[in-house]
């Protein structure tokens, strides 16, 4: 029985396990020191975690991985351009861009929802092509409408000698770069204490308000938190995290989004997401307006993706006007799948674990490729291949399980080879 459970677990999480092994091998091959890897990882996590978490709601609502989040990212970039053009400075500019992203991304999300409702069952490919199409419109906007029809007066934004928005937008000049991170930074061992304290308070409030006073569970949870805090204070662990300065505001936002994802599932709307995700026919019969619920799911996801992209670009301090949004959907989708999510099931934990593993690979693969084969480009291509391969594998496995739910997955090995 135990053995069977173990096999079941392995099969369900084949991608995650494969990735853990791969990361371990790459870690050995790369020759990086652990503290450097942890430092890099924290930087990437603070940039990318938010946008990966934005994928959860559409997955639960049965629309698969929302590759159209690239459009939310484009909304954020347009907001950045406008904020710079209006000369807003510092952290205010970040807030202004975030506020400006909402109406744009909501509008785009509504449009995406409308279109995806016309291609039910093909949402993923539809979303991807929608992203490409939107990229064309975005280019049209940035190259031919801005600066030609809508005047842009800030010379930093435009291409010198031609018309249109410049290839790179620098966020350092108006102080948006790192404005969120620099609000409050703590060394890792202190940051853990703060987060643990906040979580403990939330747990206690939950305990006080819950009708069933499950003291044992609370004890275990708080015990775990305390243990983590204590472990972080051990000198060896402290050494490992020595280079990390945790940007509290960014991780605070990520935590808030996790809470939001949990809380919304307990509301009426969340139940409707789940019902529509499980079966549109049944949900429809139960009197749920399926199309509307799907539009809401996509709209929320698009707005969150916009914010995620804002966090991403302000962390980097600059972005490529015409390329930054292209790969957002691909990387985020691959990350969440690596964490063990499927195209019909996803949780916060999977999203966060996936982001960690996926970006660990991103950090390690080029160096590992260079050390193993003497060519960094191989590592580069390998990680691109992993992105696509993971998505392809997840889709193949999902398709198999839905075509033959009872049949034994005979070709599983072959699919693994392909990835």
């Amino acid at each position: 029985m135990v053995k069977k459970n173990w096999r079941e677990f392995a099969r369900n999480n084949v991608v995650t396990i494969m990735f853990i092994v791969l990361c371990a091998v790459c870690m050995v091959l790369s020759g990086y020191t652990p503290s450097y890897v942890v430092y890099e990882l924290f930087g990437r996590l603070s940039r990318n975690a938010f946008i990966v978490l934005a994928l959860i709601i559409p997955i639960i609502a049965g629309m698969g991985i929302n590759f159209a989040i690239t459009i939310g990212a484009m909304a954020a970039q347009i907001a950045c351009i406008l904020v710079i053009e209006w000369g807003i400075q510092g952290f205010t500019s970040f807030l202004a861009a975030a506020a400006l992203t909402v109406p744009m991304a909501a509008l785009f999300g509504f449009g995406i929802g409308k279109i995806l409702n016309k291609m039910k069952g093909q949402e993923m490919i539809g979303g991807m092509i929608l992203g490409y199409f939107a990229n064309g419109l975005y280019q049209l906007l940035c190259l031919f409408i801005f600066d030609n029809i809508i005047p842009i007066n800030n010379p930093d934004l435009t291409i010198t000698g031609s018309t249109g928005i410049a290839n790179t937008i620098d966020l350092a000049k108006n102080g948006m770069a790192n404005s969120l991170e620099s609000l409050w930074k703590l060394p890792a061992y202190q940051a853990v204490l703060v987060f643990a304290a906040v979580i403990a308070i939330i747990l206690l409030i939950g305990y006080a308000r819950s009708p069933r006073k499950n003291a044992k569970r609370l004890g275990i949870q708080i015990g775990t938190l305390a243990a983590v805090c204590v472990i972080m204070q051990i000198p060896a662990v402290k050494e490992l995290f020595s280079m990390v300065m945790v940007p509290m505001a960014t991780f605070g936002l990520v935590a808030l989004l996790c809470v939001f994802n949990v809380v919304i599932m307990r509301t009426r709307l969340g139940q409707q997401f789940r019902a529509v995700g499980q079966s549109r026919v049944v949900a429809n019969a139960a009197g749920i307006n399926v199309d509307k619920v799907r539009i809401i799911a996509i709209t929320i996801s698009t707005v969150l993706a916009g914010w995620g992209q804002l966090i991403f670009v302000q962390n980097l301090g600059a972005f490529q006007t015409y390329g930054a949004a292209d790969q957002v959907g691909l990387y985020a989708g691959a990350a969440i799948l690596v964490g063990g999510a499927s195209v019909v099931r996803a949780t916060n934990t999977q999203a966060l674990l996936g982001t960690v593993l996926f970006h660990l690979m991103f950090i390690l693969a080029p160096a590992a490729g260079k050390n193993l084969l003497g060519n960094a480009a191989i590592g580069e291509y390998f990680r691109v291949f992993m992105c696509y391969g993971v998505i392809a594998l997840a889709l193949v496995m999902h398709a198999w399980s839905s075509v033959a739910p009872r049949k034994k997955l005979k070709g599983g090995d072959k699919a693994t080879d392909k990835a």
Binding site: G64, G121, Y132, F133, N135, L140, V403, G411
Partner: protein
């Protein structure tokens, strides 16, 4: 014609459009006519004369002022003044001389006041000489480009390799030979002497009008004056614009009509077509669908724009023909996939890679010409038959979910092959990076099979170069597929795609038919990329094959196919329309907004828009 219901609104719009077209067309034709008429010719001639006299007049004033200045300086010097006095006197003299020149009207002359006949004839002689010179120059340069066509190099390698972005094959048509080595031919020099002589004759006439002019000043004015008279690649419009600008005359409504006669006449044609489209809106939409109608109209618009902007429509059309043959087989490879029920085969890059390996082997073994071309195809067919079979097996296990899976399987194979291109042990220096490991991103096929089909039996009709071999090969492929689809197996394949359950009930092995369709699609993709490469002259590795599936899919959809049904005619029409729009949009866009990449944007919009449209049509029906 029965069955066409025309609403009131439609009729009114149609009538309004036609009336507008007739009026505009009449004005335009009048304008075109006026160009040849006596009054029109005189108008342009007068403006030109005025322009030249203005220029010469400025020169005359300059000469007058300079003379006065010199005199003043000399006078002050003679009195023994210092530098300061000299400068002041000279400035004062210049001011006074300028005022006097204006008062006396030295730089101005009314056309009516002088005998323009000899001037005009001298001017015409100069214009003719210049036109002859420019014609000869264009001919000589064309010959030079022809002779040095092999030197064309593509800006490749470094920048492409970095970001992995695909290089636009649209730029193929824009490759230019470096003209810095071009020197004037003997004929050109002779004609240049004629121009010089004619200019001297004109100068004599001008001197009669402005006695103050010296030879030095006239020599320095030569560039300006000849520039006004004629320039390389001149049309009536450009000549007219220059004359208006330099003469400062207001030619009035008549002149404007003359200037814009061509634009007006072509706009009238456009309006007529629009009126027809409005009139037959119902049946057209029913037959073509909205997107094809929009893109068809867009194509017509582009053709008219090309004519208005005076771009060579014939050369653009021959480009479109080449691109039809170049992309045709790739698009054709979509057909068996759609027919056998795997929908759009966005995993087509799998087949493309087979063809690429074929091409690489051909270079590696040093084969060239036709034999190399067919060798590449043969190798491509073998490899893609194997991969296509495996791919078909995979697709049989995930019926109904093919498109998103195939896309990502295709993508992952392409990126896997990126690693392979780096490590495969090819030796030929044509393919390897000069430094470091791996194959180049873009490999030139000059020594292999570049243009073997394009140049086979190619001929020219009405200025359009017909790439006979290429089109014949495309037609042959179409014919073979058509034949196959009518064979017993082909019909079974179609049946399995159209209604798998019914097909299975009639004893057709649906899985086998799907594999046959997938294999055929993959193999055609391999052939397609070899044909594409021989036309393009380059082979693109790494990320380039990734988007090709989308382009081919959008072309066949544009031709009228759905995600479940396709015909050969869809392939031909779709490819021509898609490529025609792309080829034409580039020069038109560049003429309107120089240096823009709008045609690239357009390609993204059209290709993805059409796939989206097809998806909404296919997915909308299946509810629940």
């Amino acid at each position: 014609m029965h069955g066409i219901n025309i609403s009131r609104k439609q009729a009114i719009a149609c009538a309004a459009l036609i009336i507008a077209a007739v009026i505009i067309g009449a004005i335009g034709l009048y304008g075109l006519n006026a160009r040849q008429s006596a009054s029109g010719v005189t108008l342009l001639e007068e403006m030109r004369l005025q322009a030249i006299l203005n220029t010469a007049g400025t020169g005359a004033v300059d000469a007058y002022v300079a003379a006065e200045k010199q005199a003043a300086t000399k006078a002050v010097r003679a009195e023994g003044g210092g530098m300061k006095e000299v400068r002041e006197a000279s400035a004062k003299a210049a001011e006074e001389a300028l005022a006097r020149a204006q008062e006396l009207g030295i730089g101005e002359v009314a056309l009516s006041a002088i005998d323009t006949k000899p001037l005009a004839s001298a001017l015409n002689t100069l214009a003719e000489a210049q036109t002859a010179y420019f014609d000869e120059e264009a001919r000589a340069q064309a010959a030079y480009i022809e002779a040095h066509a092999d030197e064309v190099t593509v800006q490749q390698d470094a920048d492409v390799a970095d970001d992995g972005e695909e290089m636009s094959d649209l730029e193929m048509m824009e490759q230019t030979v470096d003209l810095s080595g071009f020197t004037a031919t003997a004929e050109m020099q002779a004609l240049q002497a004629d121009v010089d002589a004619a200019y001297l004759a004109l100068c004599e006439e001008i001197k009669l009008v402005f006695p103050a002019l010296t030879d030095d000043i006239l020599t320095s004015l030569k560039a300006t004056i000849t520039g006004i008279v004629a320039q390389s690649g001149d049309t009536f419009e450009t000549r007219y614009d220059r004359a208006v600008e330099a003469s400062g005359m207001q030619p009035g409504a008549n002149g404007w009509i003359m200037r814009n006669g061509r634009t007006l006449a072509l706009s009238a044609v456009g309006l007529c077509i629009l009126a027809l489209a409005v009139f037959f809106y119902g049946p057209l939409v029913a037959k073509l669908g909205v997107p094809r109608l929009i893109i068809g109209m867009f194509f017509v618009l582009l053709c008219l724009m090309a004519l208005i902007l005076d771009l060579s429509l014939t050369s653009q059309l021959s480009n479109a023909l080449v691109r039809l043959g170049m992309n045709g087989v790739l698009v054709l490879s979509m057909l068996p996939g759609i027919q056998c029920g795997i929908s759009l085969n966005l995993g087509m890059p799998i087949g493309i890679i087979g063809g690429l390996i074929g091409g690489l082997l051909c270079i590696e073994l040093g084969m060239s010409g036709m034999s190399g071309f067919f060798f590449a195809i043969a190798v491509g067919l073998v490899i893609s038959a194997v991969t296509g079979y495996l791919y078909g097996q995979l697709l049989n296990r995930l019926k109904g979910d093919e498109m998103s899976v195939t896309t990502y399987v295709g993508f992952s194979i392409v990126s896997l092959m990126c690693i392979a291109w780096l490590v495969l042990p090819f030796k030929s220096p044509v393919m390897k990076w000069p430094l470091g490991d791996g194959l180049r991103t873009t490999i030139g096929l000059q020594d292999a099979y570049k243009h073997v089909l394009n140049n086979f039996l190619s001929f020219e009709v009405l200025g359009i170069t017909v790439p006979t071999g290429l089109l014949l090969f495309f037609a042959l492929c179409c014919f073979l597929v058509w034949l196959f689809m009518r064979s017993r197996t082909g019909i079974a394949v179609s049946a399995a795609g159209a209604n798998p359950r019914f097909a299975a009930a009639t004893g057709i092995n649906v899985n086998r038919m799907r594999i046959i369709g997938t294999m055929l699609s993959t193999m055609l993709a391999a052939v397609g990329i070899v044909v594409y490469g021989q036309s393009y002259g380059f082979m693109q590795l790494y990320q380039a094959p990734r988007q090709m599936g989308f382009l081919a899919a959008s072309a066949i959809l544009l031709g009228g196919a759905s995600t479940s049904r396709a015909r050969i005619s869809h392939v031909v029409i779709g490819t021509f329309l898609f490529q025609g729009v792309l080829t034409l949009s580039m020069p038109v866009a560049n003429a309107l907004i120089p240096g823009s990449t709008i045609s690239e944007t357009l390609r993204i919009l059209i290709s993805n828009g059409i796939i989206l449209y097809a998806l909404t049509k296919s997915g909308g029906a299946t509810r629940g």
